[in-house]
Structure formats: C-alpha cells, structure tokens
Amino acid sequence: MTGDRRDRERRSRCTLDDRGQAHTLEALASAILLLASVVFALEVTAVTPLTASTASQHIEIQQAGVGEGLLDAAVANGTLKPTVLLFDVDQGRPYYSGSDGIYVLGGPPTTFGQALNETFSERGIAFKLTYISVDPKGGLQETVVVQMGTPSDHGVTASRTITIYDDDPLYYPNGTPQDRTAGGTKNFNIVKDAYDGPLYNVVVVQLTIWRM
C-alpha cells in the first residue's frame, strides 16, 4: 500500500513519456495561428477607404456642394450669362484664351471666373468648365472652356441651365455689354443658334471639380 502511494505521488509530479515534442509543436502551431489572426485582423479593417482622407466619399460630397453653391450664386448675381457670352469677335474666340479658345491656367477673365479661381485654384482643387448646347442639326455640342487637366476618379460635376435669346448682347471681360448680339454675330461659335425664332439656345454650364 505505501508502495502504491509513493508511486502515485511520483507519477503526479512528473510524467515519464516521449510527448515533449508534440507539446512543442502544439505551442508553435498555436503561436503561429494567433500571430496570423492578429495580422489578418489588422489588415482587413476598412480604415483607409472610408475615413477622412483626400480620396474619401465625404470630400466628394463636400466639393459637389461647393460647386453647386458657386453656380447658384453666379446665376443669382447675373454673372454666369456674361461669362458664357464672353467673346472677342475679331479673334473668333473668348478674350485672353488660348488659340483653341480654352483657358488652362484658371477661369475666364470675368467676375465668375474670378470666383472660380478664388474658390478652387487657391485651394489646390482643379476644375473643368464645359458648355453643353444643342447644335443647329439637333445633336449636342460640348464646348470645353476651362481645361486644367483630366479629372481624377474622384471628380464631381455640378451643372446649371441658362437660356440665351437672339437679342442678348455679347460681353467684354469687365461685364459691360458689347454692341453686338448673340443672334447677330455670325462667328459666335461657342454656342450656336439652334432655333429660328427669338430663342438662341439653352446652355447647360457644367463644372467638374477634383482635387489635384
């Protein structure tokens, strides 16, 4: 009897077998498993695409709001139409634009163009201004007026519609009307006369904004 108890005590303190390597293997496997799961969990969280950064959805919505607000203000102030009707008849293109009629460094030299530059260029936001109108044959004519590069994937667009009549005067850069009218000037080719009657054309002014 005493021999049994001694035996049992001896056995409870240390077990004599060759399972030590299995235990080590088990420890290694569990360590690798734990490490792999920690690394996976850290990599899979969607922090970057959805939280604040220059590429996030919030920035896009904010820029869309700024663009729409700027266009609304221009329509209400009456500064959008003089910008669309800015035209140098002798040169056959808008004042101070490149030989192809496009501005590349900023907005046109009108009050609206100045507002665009102050709102966007000085904050590192590039923009593209397009006039979409109907050409006399019934198709669509897209005239690019300001091209500061190609929009990135995160560009947003805001647009407003204005109406031009045959007797609307063309404008100088400082906003004063010229003696010439839209309907009476043959080489006013940014927007063409799409209707025989008093209506000259309906123009959709489209502003695309993206962060440079």
Partner: protein, 334 residues
C-alpha cells in the same frame, strides 16, 4: 482484455488546451475586425448628406423653367408686341422650342423632361419712354393733373419708374399736400398713397400714406441726378425700401391714379415709367388717356403678356416630378 479506462498518466493531460485557446482567440480577433468594419461603414453611410433620389435636381429644373418662361414673356413683350396674338404666339413657340432643346440636353445625363404651356394671361403694358412730366395725353395743350391709369385690373406687375431728381417737388417750397403722389386703391377701399419728394437738404424721400393721410412708412435716400424706383420690387436705387412692399395689404382688383402731377404751371415730377397690367387693351377703360399722338410726347400702351402657366415634367429612373409653374416676372411678393 482491452483497456478502456484512461491510463493513469492521462489524468493530468491538458488535452491540447493551448491550441484550442489559440483557435478561440483567433476567431475572436477576426470577429472583432468584422464588427469594426461594419461600424465604420455604417457610420459613413449614415453621415452622408447626399441626395440619393435626386429631388434637388428636380427643384433646380423647376426654377430654371420659371426663369426661362419669364425670359420668353419679356422677349415677346419687347420685340413682338404688334398684336396680342403675336405676343402669345411668340412666347408659346419660344417655350416649345425651349422644351425641345432642354430635353435633348437633359437626356445626356439620363433625365426625361418636358415643358408645356397650358395657360396664358394677356394684358397691357403702360409706359412712358421719354422723360416728360407724369400727366396724361396732352391734346391741344390740355392735360389732367390728376388722372387714372387703370380702373380695375386683376393684377399688376413690373411697375418701375425713373425720375429726374431736379424736377421732384421739394417740401421746402411745396407743402406736403402739393407734391406728386401715385395712389393704389384695393377692392375693399384700402388706399395706399406713395408720395415722392425731396427734403430741403437734398435727400430723396418716398413716403407711403394710407387713405386718411397718415404716414405708414418712408424711405430716404441720397440719389444722383436720376432715381430708379421699383415699386413692385420695393427698391429705390437698388436698395430695399420696405415701405413700398404694400401690395399684400390691398385686395385685387387695383386702381392706379397719378395725382398732383403739376402744380399750376410747374411740373412736380418728370421721368419715365412702365408697368404691366392684366387687362388687355380691349378691356382697358382709360385708353383715351394714352397715345400715340403725333407731335406730342405722351404715355402709351401696347399689347403684352401678363403671365404664363406651364407644366414641367422631370423624370429619372428613381423619380417622377410633375408640377405647374406660373411665370409673371416682377410680380410683387405676397
């Protein structure tokens, strides 16, 4: 016999607790990552202020149509006003063309739009284009000092005048009851008298009184040689003059009278004015007060469109918006 009981050495065996524990922790960490992702995405979606359905664009388009209709009315009134029929045809054809052009452009971004004219109200434009005193038609040297421009018009809009500051009565010289005023009388007998005069110190005053002569409100401005007053727009020289916003106190039909346009042989005011009323020249009862009269500068009338009502339809895959818009440029705010 086969031993089916556990050998004694196995009593203290932990049965791979470490591995099981590691599995459990790994599963818990992956679950936490999943929950974190869901929370971030939900917060992002919930805080987006965007207009998913596109209702804002529909309202934008409605405002654009209203502006376009106002422009069509103004153009037709100005350029094609030989007869009432001419004005109406020009304006409605213009809106039909506008609808076609705009539909082509809106189709580019996936919207189907349509604008149809459903109703027009014709009227008369009463105007004086050349600087002159505010009496009526002068014939054989006689003209009336107090005269009625329109007896009972259902509505009036775009009433503005440009007066020559030097000719406006000065209350240092005239008494307040002698200066020029125009009077708008509403249906229930409510009266608003608008006096125009200058103070001895040179400032320009527009004062509104009720029928009994008690002052309700007034505006004082410093103006140059000319003063532009927009009665329906309630501005003097471009600045808001709250006193002129009295049309909401009057019921239609309106009666408009010019009083004290002369004091003896002196004019109390000179300038130009223009307004559009909703009575056609055929219905107007005061046509004998207007020109044309060859050899004399006189106030005149011409056919005009008063207002136009259009139906706007704006359709996207997610939204159908249909509404009526009434355009009457320059109508006083109610």
């Amino acid at each position: 016999m086969v031993e089916v009981t556990l050998p004694p050495e196995a009593e203290d065996d932990r049965a791979q607790m470490l591995l099981v524990g590691a599995f459990g922790l790994a599963v818990m960490m992956v679950a936490l990552a999943l929950i974190l992702n869901t929370a971030i995405y939900t917060e992002n979606i919930a805080t987006r202020g965007g207009d998913i359905i596109g209702g804002k664009d529909a309202m934008q388009y409605r405002a654009t149509v209203e502006r376009a209709a106002g422009g069509a009315i103004s153009y037709a009134n100005y350029h094609n006003n030989t007869t009432l029929g001419n004005v109406e045809t020009t304006a409605t054809d213009s809106m039909a063309a506008w609808s076609n052009l705009s539909a082509t452009e809106q189709g580019l971004s996936g919207q189907v739009t349509n604008v149809t004219v459903i109703d027009t109200t014709m009227g008369t434009r009463i105007y004086q284009n050349r600087v002159r005193n505010f009496t009526n038609r002068t014939e054989y040297g006689t003209s009336e000092v107090n005269w009625t421009l329109v007896e009972h018009t259902p509505a009036l809009r775009n009433f503005s005048m440009t007066v020559q500051n030097a000719t406006v009565g000065n209350i240092g010289v005239f008494s307040l009851s002698e200066v020029y005023r125009f009077i708008v009388t509403g249906d229930a007998g409510t009266v608003r008298q608008v006096l125009i005069y200058t103070e001895p110190d040179g400032s320009f005053v527009v004062e509104v009184q009720d029928g009994g002569g008690s002052t309700l409100d007034s505006c004082t401005r410093d103006v140059g040689s000319e003063a532009n007053i927009s009665v329906t727009g309630a501005t003097v020289e471009g600045d808001r003059c709250g006193a002129l916003a009295f049309f909401d106190a009057l019921d239609t039909p309106y009666k408009l009278t010019f009083n004290n346009t002369k004091d003896g042989n002196d004019d109390t005011i000179e300038g130009t004015y223009s307004l559009v009323v909703a009575e056609t020249p055929g219905d107007l009862t005061t046509t004998e007060d207007f020109g044309p009269l060859s050899g004399y500068d006189v106030p005149d009338i011409e056919p005009a469109m008063y207002s136009m009502t259009v139906t706007v339809v704006y359709r996207t895959p997610r939204l159908l918006y249909r509404t009526k818009v009434r355009a009457a440029p320059g109508e006083p705010d109610e």
